[in-house]
């Protein structure tokens, strides 16, 4: 197997996630797109780790596990924030949340 087939899959998922973050305005869907981006990073971590020899081969897997943990924490806090936005404005439309826009 080539290194590149995994890295290109990661790149494709990353770009789809970027499109989702930019094009969606529903807060929950934006969080889903961020999950796509984090998963693309995980593929890169594991693939590049498998590309190493000897003891270093495990590093990629360990960092992928850390990324999964941080992603879980991020979704928890992110959904709590979306819920708060919904409670205050009766909508999760992120285009309406422009209080900090100059």
């Amino acid at each position: 197997m080539l290194v590149n087939q995994f890295l290109l899959l990661g790149a494709a998922l990353f770009c789809i996630g970027v499109y989702g973050v930019l094009a969606r305005k529903n807060g929950v869907l934006v969080l889903m797109s961020i999950e796509l981006i984090l998963n693309a990073v995980n593929i890169n971590m594991v693939a590049l780790g498998a590309n190493l020899q000897g003891d270093a081969a495990i590093t990629g897997q360990v960092f992928a596990l850390f990324v999964i943990t941080v992603a879980a924490a991020e979704v928890g806090v992110g959904l709590a924030i979306i819920l708060l936005i919904y409670r205050n404005r009766q909508s999760v439309d992120l285009d309406e949340v422009d209080l900090m826009k100059g």
Partner: protein
């Protein structure tokens, strides 16, 4: 590229992941987006198996498919998302967004193909099963987390606690 079993498996997994990911970002139904996300995450978990990373694959299914997607479905439910198709999920700037994503894809693909070209992953063929397990199996991951990466592991556990407390503080009603 030869048609080895692992390449065929990878092709199927990659195609299902990319197609389902495209549906996640384009479907007009929020619940369907969450279900398509399940397909993406399980395909990625299976492709971890192709890389001999079985613990990451299991954790991917447990944490992502088991917990995060359920969390998303709760989020969909609590924000009273419209059941059925909702045409108002995208903002009007889809064109520039697609342009940005395609531009980024082009740059990334060019850089990756230019740098890695036809580099192959080190083949595990001929290595004994015990040697693979010792160098990159679940036991090796555990050893590594609880020796080399002990401090980051503890920091991540504090981060999870902080996120838990933060989510409760944000979401409680008073």
């Amino acid at each position: 590229m030869e048609f080895l079993p692992e390449n065929i498996a990878f092709g199927i997994l990659a195609a299902s992941a990319v197609l389902a990911a495209l549906r996640v970002v384009t479907t007009p139904n929020v619940v369907h987006a969450a279900l398509y996300l399940v397909i993406v995450l399980s395909s990625i978990g299976a492709s971890f198996l192709l890389l001999a990373a079985e613990f990451v694959a299991i954790v991917q299914v447990l944490v992502y498919v088991g917990a995060i997607v359920v969390l998303f479905l709760f989020g969909v439910m609590l924000t009273r998302a419209k059941m059925g198709d909702d045409p108002d999920l995208d903002n009007p700037r889809k064109g520039p967004a697609a342009l940005t994503a395609l531009f980024l894809a082009g740059i990334l693909a060019y850089a990756l193909v230019d740098f890695f070209q036809d580099d192959k992953l080190p083949s595990l063929k001929g290595t004994s099963e015990a040697a693979i397990t010792a160098s990159r199996g679940t036991g090796a991951v555990g050893d590594s987390i609880f020796s080399t990466y002990l401090v980051p592991f503890e920091v991540v556990s504090v981060l999870l606690l902080a996120a838990l407390v933060g989510a409760i503080v944000l979401a409680r009603r008073d």
